[in-house]
């Protein structure tokens, strides 16, 4: 049991971060805080990918001029049949670099929108904005 909990330490952290992020998005009315929550939520996914790239006993996936540097296996880890050198899987790191770029651009667009919303409504609190929009709806109908 203890082994299970300790052995999955990364996953507990990931789940905690993921739920924290989602909770922040749902619970707060402040638009910037919503984006912070979104950032935390996305970061947890980055960590999920990084965690699953680790191969038990694997070295960093850097070719260090050992004689015979491995063949591909089904699970993406490089295993040398002679030396038994195991490399961690580098692919998820590359994927996550892409996902980080996506996350940053989403955040940038989101913050730009918040700036524009602040200009248009004079507030970044969800309640104030809802009230302003409700007044527009009432006035126009």
């Amino acid at each position: 049991m203890v082994d299970f909990i300790v052995g999955h330490f990364n996953y507990w952290v990931i789940i905690t971060l993921m739920m924290t992020g989602l909770y922040v998005i749902i619970s707060t009315g402040n638009l910037v805080k919503k984006l912070v929550g979104l950032g935390v939520f996305q970061t947890s996914v980055f960590q999920l990918y990084i965690t699953l790239s680790k191969v038990a006993g694997g070295r960093p996936p850097i070719f260090d001029k050992l004689p015979g540097y491995g063949t591909e296996t089904k699970y993406g880890a490089a295993v040398d049949p002679l030396l038994g050198v195991i490399y961690s899987n580098p692919l998820p790191h590359v994927l996550i670099l892409t996902a980080i770029v996506v996350g940053v651009s989403t955040l940038a667009v989101g913050l730009a929108l918040v700036v524009r919303i602040r200009e248009a409504y004079g507030s970044i609190e969800g309640d104030d904005i809802d009230e302003a929009e409700y007044k527009i709806e009432i006035a126009s109908s």
Partner: protein, 516 residues
């Protein structure tokens, strides 16, 4: 097909061989170029040109898979499990053609609206972003690699958030609509990427065909089932599956007219496609967790959407929001077809997707033209449109009838096949839902038609009651684009063989060997 031969011969076969890569790369690169073009009208001409070329390439792809063939294109000649592949079959060739055709029509339609609604300094950026969105959507449809799907999904979504927010000049609510879309869309995409990560954990590959092959041997363990749940929820958000649709009505209502047309006819369709691809090709429709999801989640939610959102549509006073709620209801029809899990149901869902793109595109175009000519945004302001803008009103009426599913319109065909597929499965209560939803559609479309034809146009204070109403002319190119879609939604009643044939072929591929 002289045009296609001309392109093919010009490139000495290279263009044809690399069409799958070009159909994505051309709009993406051209999007960056459009920003440099600066001058507004020049950027528009450039975008139209690019959309035309993209449409040409999509027709080449469509033509080469008409008979049920599949093309697997290895990026940079790296073979399948390691390299990234693009995969084209009847299913996504239909989607790619739909997206590029709608992009072209939306552009042809959109210039007068863009000129009025968008600051001239931002025109180049606007068209650049639009081309990025087109490239992203085509990329989602064509990619055979699960992570690539995520990247393209985000390329299209982020540009969509920007495009929706461009409506702010018309109405500041576009900003909050865009922000809500951004939050929900990103949650959806992140759920999807969690699912892809879990699939990678379980199978060690990202190639969709490879994942499918590895999962075929097993009923799936807990990781696979968790991946399934994450992917369905994530894509459900993007598809506007009830009750994950809350971002959609405002995003459609407040976006610039041209973007409303394009989004309503493509964005949720592409998400729907990728949902089908994952449900039927990557996962196996026979797996017990999937059939349970179809019967107990997808089908009930689809029917709730069909009825609840039709009721909501009936009570809207804003025309575009009325159409947006109706879109969520129509997504319900497509999901109902999918949830049957049979080839007939899937084909009906796909056919409805195609027809709905035509009619909803036409409806948004007509409403945009009414807005351009007379500043109309509300249902009661439509009064007398039959006299002041007869052609626009006629287009709106025909597309509206197609939305109800009246015979002699394409909407009837897809609903007919859907009802047959539902009855084959023995779900008589789903037929009740379809009928109730169609009756509700009569209400909300009827409100518009009643206002247009049975009420008199508002008389200007200077004019007399007896004066003939002043007719308002619309831009010719915009009218042409509108009527292409209107005629399309009648044409495909009399000759549904093209979309029906493709939908049947696609459904056969998906239900048979998974289609990858």
């Amino acid at each position: 097909m002289n045009f296609i031969e001309m392109i093919t011969n010009a490139g000495g076969g290279h263009l044809l061989a690399n069409a799958p890569a070009l159909v994505v790369a051309i709009p993406l690169i051209a999007g960056a170029v459009a920003v440099v073009l600066g001058h507004g009208k020049l950027a528009w001409v450039w975008s139209v040109l690019i959309a035309l070329v993209t449409f040409g390439f999509s027709l080449i792809l469509l033509q080469s898979v008409l008979g049920g063939e599949t093309i697997t294109y290895a990026m940079g000649n790296w073979p399948a499990p390691l390299g990234i592949t693009y995969h084209i079959d009847a299913l996504n060739a239909l989607l790619i053609s739909l997206v590029s055709a709608m992009a072209l029509l939306a552009l042809l339609y959109g210039w007068p609206m863009v000129e009025r609604e968008i600051d001239p300094k931002k025109h180049a950026m606007f068209f650049g972003t639009f081309l990025l969105c087109v490239g992203g959507l085509i990329g989602v449809a064509i990619a055979g690699d699960a992570f690539n799907v995520f990247v393209f999904l985000e390329v299209s979504s982020i540009s969509t958030y920007v495009l929706v927010a461009m409506g702010a000049q018309k109405n500041r609510q576009a900003l909050t609509a865009s922000f809500n879309y951004l939050i929900l869309g990103t949650i959806g995409a992140t759920f999807f990427v969690i699912g892809v990560g879990l699939l990678y954990m379980a199978t060690g590959t990202l190639n969709m065909a490879d994942i499918s092959r590895i999962l075929a041997d097993s009923e799936g363990n807990r990781v696979v089932r968790a991946a399934f749940a994450f992917i369905v929820i994530g894509l459900g958000l993007k598809t506007a599956m009830f009750p994950l649709h809350t971002w959609l009505p405002n995003a459609y209502t407040f976006s610039p007219s041209m973007i409303g047309v394009f989004l309503a006819s493509t964005a949720t369709k592409v998400a729907f496609y990728i949902l089908i691809r994952f449900l039927f090709s990557v996962f196996h429709a026979g797996a017990s967790f999937e059939t349970a999801m179809f019967d107990f989640v997808l089908a009930p939610m689809a029917m709730v959407a069909m009825i609840v959102c039709s009721v909501q549509a009936s009570f809207q006073s804003d025309v575009r929001r009325l159409l947006a709620y109706s879109s969520v209801a129509q997504v319900g029809y497509m999901l109902l077809g999918l949830s049957l899990g049979t080839a007939a149901g899937l084909a009906a869902g796909l056919l409805h997707m195609f027809n709905h793109a035509l009619m909803k595109g036409a409806l948004f175009m007509a409403v945009g033209l009414a807005g351009l000519g007379l500043g109309i945004t509300r249902v009661n302001e439509l009064r007398g449109l039959g006299k002041t803008m007869p052609l626009v009103a006629a287009g709106l009426t025909v597309a509206g009838l197609s939305l109800i599913g009246v015979p002699l319109t394409a909407g009837f065909i897809s609903k007919y096949y859907l009802v047959i597929a539902v009855l084959e499965r023995g779900w008589w209560w789903a037929v009740v839902a379809i009928v109730v939803s169609s009756v509700l559609a009569i209400f909300y479309v009827g409100r518009m038609i009643e206002a247009m034809y049975l009420q008199n146009p508002p008389t200007p204070s200077a004019a007399h009651e007896s004066d003939p109403p002043i007719q308002v002319r619309s831009p010719v190119l915009s009218m042409a684009a509108l009527y292409v879609l209107v005629i399309g939604s009648v044409w495909f009643f009399f000759d549904p063989s093209l979309p029906k044939g493709l939908a049947d072929t696609a459904a056969g591929l998906l239900i048979g060997g998974g289609g990858l």
